[in-house]
């Protein structure tokens, strides 16, 4: 599977640079300007769709067919995208925490919200889009899966657009109440991970039946 990881790494470097720049700019803006939830969450959303983006390039170049001629199982071909979904989410967590601490340092040492709590709150945002979309795209392909893709993105953006009205700085009731109960956030993270696990198994099953 090492070859698949290397291939996707090269593809990410080439095709997803803009995603990474946007993620850094948004996290920095959220940390330094103390702006709303949307800025913090958006990088998680766009980075969560990177595996789908890579899958789309795979289909376009007919790698999906070519890789089936190599000594990889369908499970491995699926798993590599899930591994990158986890890596992207973890990278966003690190970026958020670092940006929040940097923002606080510049502002004189006061953290508007605990970065750990914030990261825990956003992990599901980074994992759930991939958990929903990857099996659909593995099953139907990127062309047909595109409808599901847009539907999920619109729903998530609308949700965080709505939450954006409560700024982090003002310490919205939602965040405050959740921050008081990190076990709720941990539960949400575990549920998101479980969903990703179920999604992974479903994607292996569906991709195993797919013919090219």
């Amino acid at each position: 599977m090492k070859g698949l990881l290397i291939k996707d790494f090269y593809m990410m470097l080439r095709y997803c640079r803009t995603f990474f720049i946007i993620a850094i700019v948004f996290e920095a803006a959220a940390a330094f300007l103390g702006d709303g939830m949307f800025l913090v969450a958006y990088p998680f959303i766009i980075c969560s769709v990177i595996p789908m983006n890579l899958l789309s390039y795979d289909e376009k170049s007919r790698w999906t067919l070519y890789s089936c001629t190599m000594p990889y199982s369908r499970g491995q071909l699926v798993s590599v995208k899930y591994i990158y979904a986890l890596i992207m989410c973890f990278a966003c967590v690190v970026l958020t925490v670092v940006a929040q601490f940097a923002g606080a340092a510049v502002a004189g040492g006061n953290l508007s919200v605990n970065p750990g709590i914030l990261a825990m709150m956003l992990i599901p945002v980074g994992l759930i889009p991939a958990a929903i979309l990857l099996p659909v795209i593995f099953w139907l392909g990127t062309e047909k899966g595109r409808i599901a893709f847009y539907a999920v993105i619109v729903i998530i953006c609308a949700f965080f657009g709505f939450l954006g009205a409560d700024s982090l700085d003002a310490g919205s009731d939602v965040i405050k109440s959740l921050a008081m109960r990190p076990q709720v956030l941990l539960g949400a993270d575990l549920i998101a991970l479980a969903l990703l696990g179920i999604s992974w198994l479903a994607a292996i099953g569906l991709y195993g039946k797919r013919e090219f």
Partner: protein, 281 residues
Amino acid sequence: MNALELKNLSKTYKGFKLQNVSLELPQGCIMGLIGENGAGKTTVIKLILDIVKKDSGQVYIMGENTDGENLRELKEDIGVVLDDVGCPECITPAQFDRIMAGTFRRWDSEKYRGLISKFGLEDNKRFGEMSKGMKMKMGIAAAMSHGAKLLILDEATSGLDPVARDEVIDMLYEYTRDPVHSVLISSHIVTDLEKLCDYICFLKRGQVVLCEEKDAILEKYGVIRCSEKDMKIIPPEAVVGVKHSPYGVEAAVKRTAVPAGMSVGRLGIEELFVFMVKEEK
């Protein structure tokens, strides 16, 4: 031992049926898979590699049944070149080397680099910037660099200019000098196959109509040019294809079934192919 053996392989799609395809490719030989567009050549190759699921039948590679997990291991021994190579457009030959090194246990980086250089490909040119011929050469270089015992090429020479095609054909010759190396190649360019192959398998509408040694086919079939009146003397079972024209009749025939005394000329594989395809049209 056979490098590849198919037994009654069948697959049904809406509007197309591949029926009971059987063939045997002995080790050290090259088999050409020929047939018109839509005859089922690519489907056969996809079935061999389990890219599409067979309805029935068996596939044996190096004597081993490919059902279950066996095939994944066997793929270490198979080099495949598809009509579109399938490498992502942003990848360079140098990066592809690292990807394949992480894919095949017996990847020979030195051999791959040598072939890339021999083909005149630049190490850092992206796949998307290459011509069709260059892409094909990169695919062939990759297929030949992991110690594969069986090469499967699907229309791999179709995008190449005559010089590049000749180079590839020479490489395939070179490859099969090793007695354990075998090649299954499908192509529309029957003249290439005629030069290259030991065996010819002719597919028509999802069925094998002919699968024999090339030399046996050339010995077995011939062409008769005669009048409509003389044509009536030839038994129908001797005729595999007929072309009528205002000047007479041209028929591909089985030499042994033709009445004695009739002059039967030499028939090339390509001509035979055209006769057989046009026969029922």
